[in-house]
């Protein structure tokens, strides 16, 4: 977070405010940054928002966790088992293209109206993003590194741990950045379709009475948490992928 980021942020806010003031766009749709800010402050001051935020964050994190791990496991499995991959491929592609929102009622039949159904929805979004990247990442393993590990006596399991997974890691992390967003989307849409609490519930409530400022307040809060989670992913990524070859640099290199 540099001074530039703050400058850009303020510029965006100012542009927003000006758009509204000059009626370039209708504040009925884009709200008013001052009122949105007031709403956020109000929510936090009154403590109303915490319960909803908690629900959404838990749903998001759980969906993110389970979805990623599932994507990783299934991705590895199918990438290493051509037969399974061939047989399941049309189903995976089909499910991926299925509009999940339509499944929301079915999920609430199966998982109830609580967090579980939102988590399930989030998982269906996160899973595919991670899956496709892991699948491709494994197939991109350098053939000679793989051959070397085999010659060194690695078992299937050890190949997985020592070659396939590290090699696919940058693919995994790339997908995790998308997946963070998907997990939030899943949780919020799920709540939006039917729930008793959560940021999606709050947003829907505001929308029902055309309180666009409330809608944006909710969206902005979500966005901040998404960015925070993404920084977390980035942090782990830098830890795990520090070995990656980059262009060589000497000390004192100013370029």
């Amino acid at each position: 977070m540099s001074i530039y980021h703050i400058a850009i942020f303020l510029t965006v806010l100012l542009a927003w405010k000006l758009t509204v003031e000059t009626q370039l766009m209708d504040s009925f749709f884009i709200g008013d940054p001052v009122l949105v800010f007031g709403k956020i402050v109000n929510w936090f001051a009154s403590g109303d928002v915490f319960r909803h935020l908690w629900v959404t964050l838990v749903e998001t994190l759980v969906a993110f966790g389970i979805g990623s791990v599932l994507g990783l496991v299934v991705g590895l499995w199918l990438a290493l088992s051509p037969l399974a991959s061939q047989l399941s491929s049309p189903y995976i592609k089909g499910f991926n293209a299925m509009p999940r929102v339509i499944l929301a009622p079915i999920f609430s039949v199966w998982f109830g109206l609580g967090m579980t159904s939102k988590i399930a929805l989030g998982i269906t979004l996160v899973f595919f993003v991670v899956f496709f990247n892991v699948y491709q990442g494994v197939r991109e393993v350098s053939p000679v590194v793989l051959a070397n590990a085999k010659m060194l006596g690695a078992s299937k399991r050890q190949l997985l741990r020592s070659v396939y997974i590290p090699s696919a890691m940058s693919w995994v992390f790339s997908s995790l950045h998308t997946a963070v967003g998907m997990a939030f989307v899943g949780a919020v849409i799920g709540e939006y379709m039917g729930s008793a609490a959560g940021m999606g519930y709050l947003i829907l409530q505001a929308e029902s009475v055309f309180d666009i400022n409330g809608v944006f307040a909710g969206v902005i809060i979500l966005t901040f948490f998404a960015i925070a989670l993404d920084y977390g992913v980035g942090f782990v990524e830098r830890k795990l992928l520090h070995w990656q070859p980059r262009e060589a640099r000497t000390i004192g290199d100013t370029a």
Partner: protein
């Protein structure tokens, strides 16, 4: 001759019985008879249809009249031009166990109540009932469950103890034996009990400017709607069913659907006029239930006009 022949009407949940007058007018060709080329755009919820008209991507709004009042409070001047329903048609249904011992809304304390969406008209109705029973909205858990198949699932699995829904959900719940109706605003008495008077339901409304710039178009719309309302008053349920395509038949079960039509028929407006009594009721309810309306000066006379409907009736 209408000024604007191509008219887009926005509606949230088109095939619901709530908007039957609009659908009849469309299906029986009343709009075409008036020289209009109407396109009905369906939205996933009432508020989305409102946004479409405010944003200018649709011309005419078919929604519950409460939205018109709410919009005025937000500085958007819409006028109701014809009323489709005179009673909201919502019903509070509770699980059979709860139904057996039901006395009043006070029994809802600590229960989970399903509404179509938080902040919606169904939510408002729950709030009103609670207030009458001396409770606050915090005494129950309000759960948004939509208006689709999820409603049945939620009741069946005991995820809610009570729901406020319109038809077809209510009838389906009752037919499946999943719930018992305890408060019913499909009738005058029910509306009186909940809202303290006849509560206007679905209406057609247009932005103020649109009405001023296109009086002939509006007149044509209203004429068509008036014909549709007359048809609904005079036709038998079978005749009505004849008009509707099979896709609109809930569950594909003809007899069940006939029953449903019979049940909701009284809630349609007989003449499409906005009555003072109804206007007072809706204002009083909205003042209590909607923060924006509560804080605003509302000029009810600006929210509707009977000018067109009167002409349409006179023209018959």
């Amino acid at each position: 001759e209408p000024e604007q022949k191509d008219v887009t009407i926005a509606v949230g949940g088109k095939v619901a019985l709530y908007y039957l007058p609009l659908n009849i007018a469309d299906l029986k060709g009343y709009f075409a008879d008036e020289g209009l080329n109407v396109q009905i755009v369906d939205f996933q919820g009432g508020s989305k249809s409102v946004q479409a008209v405010v944003g200018g991507s649709a011309d005419v709004l078919s929604s519950s009249f409460e939205h018109v009042v709410n919009l005025q409070a937000l500085g958007r001047d819409f006028v109701g031009i014809v009323l489709q329903g005179r009673y909201p048609g919502f019903a509070l249904s509770v699980t059979p166990e709860l139904g057996e011992t039901w006395t009043s809304a006070a029994d809802l304390k600590g229960k989970k109540v399903g509404v179509t969406a938080p902040g919606s008209s169904t939510n408002a109705m729950v709030n009103l009932l609670l207030k009458k029973a001396g409770l606050t909205p915090d005494d129950v858990a309000i759960i948004g469950i939509g208006a689709g198949a999820g409603v049945l699932a939620a009741v069946q699995q005991g995820q809610v103890d009570a729901v406020v829904q319109a038809d077809p959900a209510t009838t389906l719940l009752v037919d499946e034996g999943l719930a018992k109706v305890v408060v019913d605003t499909r009738t005058a008495e029910g509306s009186q009990e909940v809202y303290g008077g006849p509560m206007p339901a679905a209406s057609l409304s247009v932005p103020q400017d649109f009405a001023e710039e296109n009086p002939e178009t509006v007149q044509a719309l209203v004429n068509a709607m008036e014909n549709s309302l007359q048809f609904l008053q005079t036709a038998t349920a079978e005749e009505i069913l004849e008009v509707l395509p099979s896709e609109m038949m809930v569950g594909g079960d003809r007899d069940a659907y006939l029953k449903m039509i019979e049940a909701v028929r009284p809630s349609y407006s007989p003449d499409g006029r906005f009555t003072d009594e109804a206007m007072n009721t809706v204002l009083a309810v909205m003042k209590e239930e909607n923060e924006a309306v509560g804080n605003a000066e509302i000029d009810m006379d600006a929210t509707y006009t009977n000018e067109f409907i009167d002409k349409a009736i006179a023209g018959e």
